[in-house]
């Protein structure tokens, strides 16, 4: 009873806004947004995923709903369509909705006030609001992170990506609503994508430990480099809704850890070889 009362008094609802961000482009933000949102919906949470990349929308393609887009985020902000008209319900999982970005304008058309109203409305109906940020540190990226309660920082084990992530972590701590209103800070999580344990063993790639040591935010896990990611995007199926595979399992582990489950880390080491190949360093 007291617990129920407590919930009613924290925020309006328990909805959580999660931004998926990275600074650098091409590291897997949209793949992660789609996979993460779908897995949350599979786990039973009512989830919406919003594309903030105005002018270069792609989430609709990755989610496989590009032909169902009629109204978009900017139409809603400008009152040209209602939120319900713009939300696309996923045909595979109940609980999952997509709010596409506009393709005909650019990121400057996003206003913090307008986005704030949309997010406030979504908070009443959803448990998780996933914001797929565009690359860069321009208006689109800043708007995507502004209302975040938590952040998934997506990084590749590669120097420019790690450096950009560090910049973004600094902005999460200073340029968000939580920072400006002196609320508890945005809760950050690190996801390392395109991880190749074999190259790490050979010393050709930064290890998850190295990246963790430099960025120093809580670690949700690695997603191994996997052919199934391209295959899934080719067919418009989020990795977590596609057939099993390393990346599929890695994303479910990540979602379960995000939800508080204590799962051992996987996909960090090269699969064990037999005694023969170990003796002779088989490659």
């Amino acid at each position: 009873m007291t617990e129920k009362l407590l919930h009613e008094h924290t925020e309006q609802t328990q909805a959580k806004v999660v931004v998926v961000t990275s600074g650098k482009g091409g590291v897997g933000k949209t793949t992660t947004s789609a996979a993460f949102a779908s897995a949350l919906a599979v786990r039973g949470y009512k989830t919406v995923v919003i594309d903030f990349d105005v002018g270069l929308r792609n989430l609709d393609l990755i989610m496989g709903c590009e032909r169902r887009v009629v109204y978009d985020l900017l139409n809603v902000i400008h009152g040209e369509g209602s939120l319900n008209q713009a939300l696309i319900k996923d045909k595979r999982v109940g609980n999952l909705y997509i709010l596409p970005a506009s393709q005909t304008r650019d990121n400057d058309a996003l206003s913090i006030e307008g986005v704030g109203e949309v997010i406030a409305a979504l908070r009443k109906n959803f448990e998780y609001i996933i914001c797929d940020s565009p690359a860069g540190i321009e208006k689109g990226a800043m708007t995507a992170m502004y209302f975040a309660d938590e952040a998934l920082v997506v990084t590749n084990p590669e120097i420019s990506s790690v450096r950009d992530s560090d910049r973004i972590i600094g902005m999460l701590a200073s340029k968000t609503r939580r920072a400006e209103q002196n609320l508890p800070p945005v809760k950050e999580h690190l996801i390392i994508t395109r991880y190749d344990p074999l190259r790490v063993t050979k010393g050709d790639m930064l290890s998850a430990g190295d990246v963790n040591e430099i960025l120093a935010i809580p670690f949700l896990g690695v997603v191994p480099e996997s052919k199934s990611v391209l295959a899934a995007s080719n067919s418009g199926i989020p990795v977590t809704l596609a057939d099993e595979g390393d990346a599929h399992e890695a994303y479910f582990d990540i979602v379960d850890r995000f939800l508080g489950e204590d799962k051992p880390f996987r996909f960090m080491d090269v699969p064990r070889k037999g005694i023969f190949s170990r003796l002779f360093g088989g490659r």
Binding site: E158, I159, V162, R163, D166, R167, G170, S174, V200, K202, G203, D204, M205, L206, S207, D210, E213, I214, R278, L279, F280, G281, G282
Partner: protein, 84 residues
């Protein structure tokens, strides 16, 4: 590590070079936002005070913040040489 790795010429891996470079650049960039933005104003104020007693121009006064170990050092340099 395999048996033959023991005999391989030990060279610094590119990953460890990457890590070192990142540690340096990231710690440098994290420090930057803490550089006070009142420096130009402080410089103008000091210039005003010094000018009450000695005629100098803006180029003769230099102000900077440096980090030495754990402490920050505010360095003020006023050169009184002839005109520059």
């Amino acid at each position: 590590m395999s048996f033959f790795d023991l005999f391989r010429f030990k060279r610094k891996s590119s990953a460890s070079i990457a890590k070192e470079r990142l540690q340096i650049i990231v710690s440098h960039e994290r420090r930057r936002p803490s550089t006070p933005d009142f420096l130009p104003q402080l410089q103008q104020d000091i210039l005003g005070v010094v000018r009450k007693y000695i005629p100098i121009n803006e180029n003769q006064i230099k102000l900077s913040v440096d980090r030495k170990g754990d402490s920050e050092v505010l360095e003020l340099n006023i050169s009184l040489s002839s005109d520059s």
